[in-house]
């Protein structure tokens, strides 16, 4: 793709384990993501999909191949790519609003402006009342809302979401999926979303990249051609949605049955 905001080219990651063995986590992966696109990376646990995301984030260095973000080679983390982790990773010594203010202040915004900005974002994730709470005082779903607000606060061009709803109960997960889509509809940021949930991937994405078991390779890329804005309850009866889910479930089943390569 010519105007890709993320271009992953021939990316390989090989870890050396503590006993000296080499473990190939990612093998020759190519993915292109267009600006404003919502792309999910779907695969079984241990397939290296998170590692792939960390490399796009610049947190992990590739063994070979390269990643271009907005045409520039990724050499480390930067505020153009905002991560949201499964473990929330909020600063526990900061209150909710201070967490959200952190990025903007770091980027040179005055504390006063940052506070106003953070208040708007907390309003967006419906946590305004909890501004002065500490992360420990919040439930998992609330913490992840704060984490999303904190990342949105420094206005990254790309959101990198690493199984963000994986640690939440089913109900909370559904609520947050809806909220995420609502937020995304407003400014359509580019999102790279790692998940092992088929229905989550179909519901959220424009495109789903299915990965094989370790070493992670691209097994298939499926375009999700469902109208937006989407609502979960509407989709459940949607024939097309069901077909996508079945198709992806089959692919994942294949992945599980396949023997890993020699």
């Amino acid at each position: 793709m010519a105007n890709s905001i993320i271009l992953i080219e021939n990316l390989t990651k090989c870890f050396v384990t503590t006993d000296g063995r080499r473990h190939l986590a990612i093998d020759a992966v190519n993915v292109a993501v267009a600006e404003g696109e919502f792309v999910s990376i779907l695969g079984p646990s241990g397939c290296g999909k998170s590692t792939l995301l960390y490399m796009v984030g610049g947190f992990v260095t590739p063994s070979s191949g390269q990643i271009l973000v907005q045409g520039k080679l990724v050499t480390g983390p930067g505020p153009d790519r905002g991560p949201v982790f499964q473990e929330f990773a909020l600063f526990p010594w900061k209150t909710v609003i201070e967490n959200v203010m952190y990025g903007p202040v770091q980027q040179g915004m005055s504390r006063r402006d940052a506070r106003e900005h953070a208040e708007r974002l907390l309003d967006l994730v419906q946590l305004k009342k909890f501004a002065d709470f500490y992360p420990k005082e919040l439930s998992g779903g609330m913490r992840q809302r704060v984490a999303i607000a904190r990342t949105l606060a420094y206005q990254p061009a790309i959101l990198l979401m690493d199984e963000p709803f994986g640690a939440l109960d089913a109900h909370t997960r559904t609520v947050l999926q809806n909220e995420l889509l609502n937020i995304w509809e407003r400014d359509r940021k580019t999102v790279l979303f790692v998940t092992h949930g088929v229905d989550e991937a179909v519901f959220l994405s424009d495109r789903v990249v299915v990965m094989t078991r370790a070493p992670g390779r691209v097994k298939a890329v499926i375009d999700i051609d469902l109208p937006r804005p989407r609502r979960r309850v509407d989709l459940l009866m949607n024939r097309q949605y069901q077909e996508y889910v079945i198709k992806l479930e089959r692919l994942i089943e294949d992945v599980h049955l396949e023997e890993t390569g020699p």
């Binding site: 983390p77 991560p83 010594w93 770091q106 419906q126 439930s139 609330m142």
Partner: protein, 272 residues
């Protein structure tokens, strides 16, 4: 009166009970001392009551107060120096393997040496004045501080650092704004150990190189066979230790209250 109301009247609030039991055990200890001293009846073991009564007498002497003040001042200097140097060193070791590999062997070697045993060497280099004593306190406090800072920094959640990196935070800034606060509960644990260490080393150093100080007060009293004074000074030192620990505990719980909040303290209603 019903049995129930009698029972509830007997239930002493936990806070009072807690304090009361502390006083009780202290009282029992003093009583045992008093009785034993009566029974043994030698010069080197005065009555608890005599020693206690000697405490205000000593505290009214200008000379004694100056001595104790001088000791505390050296302890403060040594401790402050250790905080400024040992904490960053420990934190860096926890985040940087090469630093840890370089420094670990040295620390492992120094660790088991009684810090007072370093005193003669330090005295050879820096004389018998304040500087030597401050330095030996510094060494004594530094080791537990480095150790706990190191462990605290090692267990910092990597994703916290990544989040900070994505916001554009540079390495040195991350050390003080992410690693330090993350490791703070553990660092403060090291501070508490360091505080006890400082008291021990403070007295020991003054025992070796006599100079105005609480330790000198103690050993002079011993030399002059003022045994009641010896015991009274020990009581004063214990009091100072207790007071410092109490103040430290107040500060500590203020600094890391965020780590100790229980989730059931808040009831989020309706919202996931």
């Amino acid at each position: 009166m019903s049995i129930k109301s009698v029972m509830s009247a007997l239930v002493i609030p936990r806070a009072i009970w807690h304090n009361a039991s502390a006083f009780l055990s202290l009282g029992v200890l003093l009583l045992l001392w008093e009785g034993l001293a009566h029974y043994i009846n030698i010069d080197g073991f005065p009555l608890a009551s005599e020693a206690l009564l000697q405490v205000p007498v000593i505290l009214r002497e200008r000379e004694a107060l100056i001595s104790i003040g001088a000791s505390l001042w050296r302890m403060f200097l040594g401790g402050a120096l250790a905080l400024m140097i040992a904490v960053p060193v420990g934190l860096t070791m926890g985040r940087n393997q090469r630093t840890a590999q370089a420094l670990s062997p040295v620390l492992t070697l120094i660790y088991p040496i009684p810090k007072a045993a370093l005193m003669p060497i330090i005295m050879l280099w820096f004389g018998i004045g304040d500087l030597s004593k401050v330095l030996v306190i510094f060494v004594g406090v530094s080791l537990p501080l480095i150790y706990h800072s190191y462990h605290g920094a090692q267990s910092v959640d990597e994703k916290l650092l990544w989040s900070a990196m994505a916001m554009g935070m540079k390495p040195v800034e991350r050390l003080f704004r992410v690693v330090l606060p993350s490791a703070l509960p553990e660092v403060l644990l090291g501070c508490r150990v360091g505080l006890a260490m400082a008291l021990i080393v403070m007295i020991a150093s003054e025992m070796i190189a006599r100079q105005s100080g609480a330790g000198e007060l103690l050993f002079n009293a011993l030399d002059m066979a003022l045994y009641t004074d010896v015991y009274a000074i020990i009581i004063i030192l214990a009091g100072i230790g207790f007071l410092l620990d109490w103040v430290f505990e107040r500060i500590r719980s203020r600094l890391v209250h965020w780590a100790e909040i229980r989730q059931d303290a808040v009831v989020p209603r309706g919202r996931a």
